[in-house]
């Protein structure tokens, strides 16, 4: 079994290396219809799956994965954007204090950020930044790299921060490190209303995803479900629907809906 585990790990490492140099991506005017629809569907699924939603308070959702390069940060950032375009106020919190990349998506700096706040070196207003993309979307970068990220994330201050953000925003979307690599996600997930595990088609192993879910459940996290990222097969399916929608005029409506623009771009 150990032998097969080693082979599995090597295979994953090899595949992950191919993806390592991939850049950040946010949905935009040029984003294909199938990708937009996929994020829209995810947003809708999350909206209905969060339990006991208090109307006066927002909902906090943790996003994690088994291992790196599953596309977790891209999915987290884009789903936050998707929430924002629906006229809901969203804050994207980068809880990956060891290697956070959320700030890169908005071409911002990582500091000051969450770790600085939790260490008492910055205030909330200093770390809370608006994005340039959508007025409803704010983000908190990961902050200065800390030698004890788990302790910071597990602290009461983190719990208070999440509660505070829930009063100010409709959705608090939290990006955490891979759960099988470090235990940071296990500190954050129980503090939120739900946890989503992101996996990548043809890269993530079922057993790894299973272990991640088990670990999170053991830490008393509320598992909302799984998102499959980078799916080649499902891309073709949505492509077919695109032809249907574009011929009936719905595609113009999707651009407008995504970006708040009233003027469609000429193709």
């Amino acid at each position: 079994m150990k032998f097969f585990d080693e082979i599995k790990a090597k295979k994953r490492e090899k595949e992950a290396k191919k993806l390592h140099h991939r850049k950040e991506y946010l949905i935009n005017k040029s984003t294909p219809f199938n990708i937009l629809e996929a994020f829209r569907n995810l947003k809708a699924s999350l909206s209905v799956s969060i339990p006991n939603k208090d109307v006066n308070k927002g909902a906090a959702i943790t996003f994690t994965s088994s291992y790196p390069e599953d596309g977790k940060t891209t999915v987290t950032t884009n789903i936050a954007l998707m929430f924002a375009v629906s006229d809901t106020k969203v804050v994207l919190l980068d809880a990956d204090i060891r290697k956070g990349r959320v700030a890169k998506y908005f071409h911002g700096k990582s500091t000051p950020g969450l770790s600085d706040y939790l260490s008492g070196l910055a205030t909330l207003d200093e770390i809370l930044r608006p994005s340039d993309i959508n007025p409803n979307l704010f983000y908190i970068a990961c902050g200065t790299h800390s030698p004890r990220p788990y302790e910071l994330l597990e602290s009461d201050k983190m719990t208070q921060l999440i509660e505070e953000l829930k009063t100010r925003f409709n959705y608090v979307v939290i990006d955490t490190p891979p759960v099988l690599l470090v235990s940071d996600a296990l500190a954050v997930a129980p503090k939120t209303d739900g946890t989503v595990v992101v996996c990548r088609q043809n890269l993530s192993y079922i057993s790894d995803v299973q272990r991640s879910i088990s670990s999170l459940q053991f830490a008393k996290a509320n598992i909302l479900g799984v998102v499959v990222n980078d799916s080649a097969t499902m891309g073709k399916l949505f492509g077919g629907y695109q032809r249907f929608y574009s011929s009936s005029g719905y595609q113009y409506a999707s651009y407008e809906y995504a970006y708040g623009s009233t003027e469609p771009d000429e193709e």
Binding site: Y25, H107, N202, I206, V209, G225, S231
Partner: protein
């Protein structure tokens, strides 16, 4: 839950879907396998030419009276049943008959032909000595047998004369009123003869004829005795001859040349008989049995061996069949006649290479395809990565919230370019 993943089996539907998804690969594998198989078949059989022909013999039981129509009216196998034909074919395919073909009617192998190398000189000498010794006995026996035949002819001639003399004597005897028709050998001792001899000159004729007959009788008996003695001698000589023959043949069978010849002859000839029903319109064929001989000699472009083999078969097979065939009741023998109408030795496998290429191409293609399918199933079943959203539902038992399609590298790069440009404009 991990045990669930490991113990789930493959369904036919999944396997079919897997093969369908890899159809191009499987077709490529099939084509490659067929090409390799075909190439193998070509290399293996190119230049492998067989020369020979097919001879046909029909066999029928016969009576000793030629005036009687000896054509049998039995079914497909003629007068001989399947069992009899099977046995005949086994005999023809046996080493005994193959030896007969090699010897080509001679009781002994030729001298100096079966041992070639210097290392076998003693063996050669030994074999030649035994052949010589056997040949002496064979020649002696044959000479004696010729003498016996001559003696038998003489006896037969005497019998003819004896019978003629007897008829003459009987005619004269019956002209007298001796009692009975039986000619008494001692009639000249009867009182009547003694009393009448001098008075009746016909008695002289009777005496003369009796003497002639009696003389012939004695001579015939003497010949018969001679023949019996000669037959006894021949019987002894036959034993000695057969012993010497066996010794020589046993030594001959130990030589490498004999074994090579035996192998070559057996590989080049095969026997069979009619197994199907004869054509209905040719009812005469129903009454006969047929033996087929296939001659196939590898690489005999000059056809020398094949032609020689054919000539031997044409002589030996009829004799052997006639000697060894089971004779049905009411018949006295077997007749075996060649009915072949072919023109002689020719290439017997003109499409051998082409057939082999096709055969090996099919075999190679199918074998490689099956192997590829097995490998594909093994590799696929051992791949435990997330490959479809059905796996999420089946293995993880948590909701599938969303499926995000792949984003092209070009789209990502285009977005980065646009972000750079818009940043530049802002500055």
């Amino acid at each position: 839950m991990s045990e669930q993943i490991q113990t789930e089996g493959l369904s036919l539907t999944n396997i079919f879907k897997l093969f369908l998804s890899k159809l191009k690969l499987l077709i490529l594998v099939l084509v490659c396998g067929a090409i390799v198989g075909g190439a193998f078949g070509f290399i293996r059989t190119n230049g492998v030419n067989y020369y020979g022909t097919r001879l046909e013999f029909y066999i029928n039981p016969e009576t000793s009276d030629d005036s009687v129509n000896s054509e049998s009216t039995y079914g497909v196998y003629g007068a001989y049943g399947k069992h009899v034909m099977d046995n005949m074919i086994k005999l023809l395919s046996s080493e005994i008959f193959t030896e007969k073909l090699i010897l080509n009617g001679s009781p002994l192998p030729e001298k100096d032909k079966w041992v070639n190398t210097e290392s076998e000189t003693e063996v050669a000498l030994d074999l030649n000595t035994k052949i010589d010794a056997a040949q002496v006995e064979v020649d002696s026996y044959n000479d004696k047998y010729e003498d016996l035949l001559a003696l038998t002819k003489e006896k037969n001639d005497l019998v003819v004369l004896y019978n003629a003399a007897y008829e003459e004597l009987k005619a004269v005897w019956q002209s007298y009123y001796f009692e009975g028709d039986t000619i008494s050998s001692s009639f000249n001792e009867t009182e009547y003869y003694k009393n009448n001899y001098d008075e009746d000159p016909k008695y002289a004729s009777l005496q003369e004829k009796f003497n002639t007959w009696s003389d012939l009788n004695e001579r015939g008996n003497a010949k018969a005795n001679e023949i019996k003695i000669m037959q006894d001698d021949l019987s002894e000589m036959r034993k000695v001859r057969d012993d010497k023959l066996n010794v020589a043949l046993s030594a001959w069978r130990q030589t490498a040349a004999y074994k090579d010849s035996l192998y070559k002859f057996r590989e080049s000839v095969s026997f069979s008989y009619l197994e199907d029903d004869a054509k209905a319109e040719d009812a005469a064929d129903l009454a006969r049995s047929f033996i087929y001989v296939s001659i196939n000699v590898l690489g005999d472009a000059n056809k020398t061996f094949a032609e020689d083999l054919m000539a031997r078969i044409q002589v030996q097979v009829p004799d052997y069949v006639e000697e060894n065939m089971v004779i049905p009741s009411g018949y006295s023998g077997t007749r075996c006649i060649e009915i072949t109408t072919t023109s002689g030795i020719a290439l017997t496998n003109p499409s051998y290479t082409k057939d082999s290429v096709i055969k090996f191409a099919l075999l190679g293609g199918v074998a490689v395809l099956v192997l590829a399918c097995v490998i594909l199933v093994i590799v696929d079943s051992s791949d435990k990565r997330v490959r479809s959203y059905e796996q999420i539902d089946r293995y993880l038992k948590v909701p599938l919230l969303g499926i995000i399609p792949s984003i092209d590298e070009e789209k990502i790069n285009a977005w980065h370019e646009s972000m750079k440009n818009s940043k530049g404009e802002k500055n």
